[in-house]
């Protein structure tokens, strides 16, 4: 199956390879690092890329390469956790709203309207400021804006599945609603769910980077890609452009990989959305 996917969707396979690389990097960060990512070295501040420091050092003399390797961990954990949290919450709301219908659906949809009425970053910004800086809170702040998007997608797919004959059959057998909803309908929304998750993963990573850049995301000492840009950016960019270039490349690569993979998965799993 994987071989066929690679043949039919070379771009998607490339995206998958990039994501695999980032997952492995995050997993083996301790083995891949060349220096301690949070150790400062006073004599080596703002060093250009060299043999000792492959990607140079920052204003505190920390090794950029090791920080990027560890940053993969932070980005991936925050990205995956917030995407899953938001999609699962939204998925449950969408399932109930689509299956039960009526007033519950109406109220749920209005609440989703409210959450969706603000740009993702604005909502995440207000939320993370109000929750305070910590990895948990960043995950929550990023997941909430994903909830309405997930609810929409799952609701619409539930609406069409609900009318299928096998669901009618289950109903006429006298099965309880909860059983029909969770055992018969839910498994059939897995395709759109996977598509949704891969599509949201990229934007979750981007929002994390933006929040950390603004100083409202992942706190020190965790090396986060977004935060690496914020500290270095304004003051040292002109003296040491590598401070800006490499973390940004890492963010772009991760998001690019998940976008490529997401597109290919969408074409494969959800042919109705092809090319959209």
């Amino acid at each position: 199956m994987i071989a066929r996917f690679c043949r039919k969707k070379p771009l998607g396979a490339a995206g998958g390879a990039v994501m695999l690389m980032i997952v492995l990097t995050a997993f083996f960060a301790n083995q891949l690092q060349t220096y301690d990512p949070i150790a400062t070295e006073a004599g080596q501040t703002l060093a250009r890329p060299s043999q000792e420091h492959w990607l140079g050092t920052d204003h505190l003399g920390r090794d950029i390469y090791s920080r990027i390797v560890h940053g993969a961990r932070v980005s991936l954990i925050v990205g995956v956790a917030s995407t899953l949290l938001g999609s699962v919450l939204g998925g449950i709301i969408g399932l109930l709203s689509g299956y039960v219908g009526g007033k519950i659906d109406l109220v749920a949809q209005r609440i989703m309207d409210i959450l969706q009425g603000l740009p993702l970053l604005v909502l995440a910004l207000v939320m993370s400021a109000s929750l305070g800086p910590s990895i948990h809170n960043v995950v929550i702040a990023i997941s909430i804006p994903i909830v309405p998007r997930a609810a929409r997608v799952i609701r619409s797919s539930v609406l069409s599945i609900r009318e299928m004959q096998y669901v009618e059959a289950a109903r006429s057998l006298g099965l309880r609603h909860a059983r029909i909803a969770f055992r018969h309908i839910l498994p059939n929304t897995i395709g759109p769910f996977i598509v949704l998750c891969t599509a949201q993963l990229g934007s979750a990573i981007l929002v994390e980077a933006a929040l950390s850049f603004l100083g409202l995301g992942v706190p020190e000492p965790y090396p986060s890609w977004g935060r690496m840009l914020s500290v270095s950016a304004a003051e040292y960019a002109q003296k040491a452009p590598h401070l800006v270039i490499f973390p940004g490349l890492a963010i772009s690569l991760a998001v690019f990989g998940s976008n490529l993979l997401g597109d290919a998965l969408r074409d494969t799993l959800d042919p109705r959305l092809r090319g959209a």
Partner: protein, 317 residues
């Protein structure tokens, strides 16, 4: 049509009320209030002094009263006082609106000028190398943080042209040339990202339209390719694209938050971050509400435009 409009405005208003509750609640959850932040440099605050300040700012009252007061202010068209500046919030916000609006409009123009033609070319040359290249380029646009792109553009300008962007805001009256340049760069960085979305939608919409019968008829009549694509097909393909442009325009504010910061422009989005960090509630609540109003109105505008452009769309039936 009239009932439709009334209905839509009603739903919009309801959404705004709900949003105001969410925003209000979120800001009150925040650990540490303005008094802590005002005195974080001064060290110890005497309890009496603290109470006096809270009273002066009106944050000693119960939340329900605070919320009711805020709503009352909004209805009277007032925005309350900024805690930090001690002047009416509106006076702080007003001069920042044109900056953000100008940037959003410029970025949208960049996005459309870049996105629509690329989308058309990509659709017409479907599955050729050119199509793949354009699609990868546009996906790359969606993948780069626009603030980082902004930084790289600045770095490039400094490295190759030796030009350092002005550190402070230059008004158009002061130096129009500099002003234009100061806005063009962030507009390019943000617009590129939005253009990627427009490219994708244009491509898929056009691909769908190109399969329709009337297009085949146009080809069969011997119409030139340029006319078939740019006039017959694109006209129908533009409808979904316009929706994306409308949604993107409102959501640009999200992208502008960080970009305005990178380019140090005194816009609404940039100021939102400062106000959040300073716990300046009146400013934050009103700015976020302002953004929500812009989003709702631009969605409504897109819907109405839709009916105007496509006679098949009927409202309220």
């Amino acid at each position: 049509m009239k009932t439709y409009l009334v209905q839509r405005l009603g739903i919009g208003l309801l959404t705004l009320v709900g949003m105001s509750i969410v925003i209000f609640a979120l800001l009150r959850f925040a650990p540490g209030d303005i008094v802590d932040i005002l005195f974080s440099t001064g060290g110890y605050v005497r309890p009496e002094e603290r109470i006096a300040i809270m009273k002066e700012l009106g944050i000693d009252k119960p939340y329900t009263v605070q919320y009711a007061e805020w709503m009352g202010q909004l209805l009277r068209g007032e925005l309350g006082m900024s805690y930090n500046y001690g002047v009416p919030a509106w006076e702080v916000i007003r001069p920042k609106i044109p900056v953000t609006l100008e940037l959003a409009v410029l970025a949208t123009i960049v996005a459309v000028l870049l996105g629509v033609p690329t989308g058309v070319i990509s659709a017409v040359r479907q599955d050729t190398t050119l199509d793949y290249v354009l699609r990868v380029v546009s996906l790359a646009g969606l993948s780069m943080p626009s603030f980082w792109l902004g930084m790289v553009i600045i770095l490039g300008m400094v490295a190759w042209l030796g030009w350092i962007p002005p550190i402070t805001y230059v008004s158009p009256a002061e130096n129009f040339h500099m002003h234009a340049l100061q806005f063009a760069l962030p507009a390019l960085a943000v617009g590129y990202r939005s253009s990627a979305l427009i490219t994708r939608f244009t491509r898929s919409a056009l691909l769908e339209v190109l399969r329709e019968d009337y297009i085949r008829t146009a080809w069969a009549k011997g119409q030139s390719g340029r006319i078939v694509i740019w006039s017959h097909a694109l006209k129908n393909a533009m409808l979904p694209v316009i929706t994306v442009i409308g949604i993107e325009f409102a959501f640009l504010i999200g992208g502008l938050i960080v970009t305005e910061r990178v380019f140090n422009l005194p816009g609404v989005a940039n100021y939102l971050v400062e106000a959040i960090l300073a716990r300046d509630y009146p400013i934050v609540q009103n700015l976020v509400m302002f953004i929500a109003v812009v989003v709702i109105l631009s969605n409504l505008a897109v819907d109405l435009l839709y009916g105007f452009l496509d006679p098949r769309v009927r409202y309220g039936d």
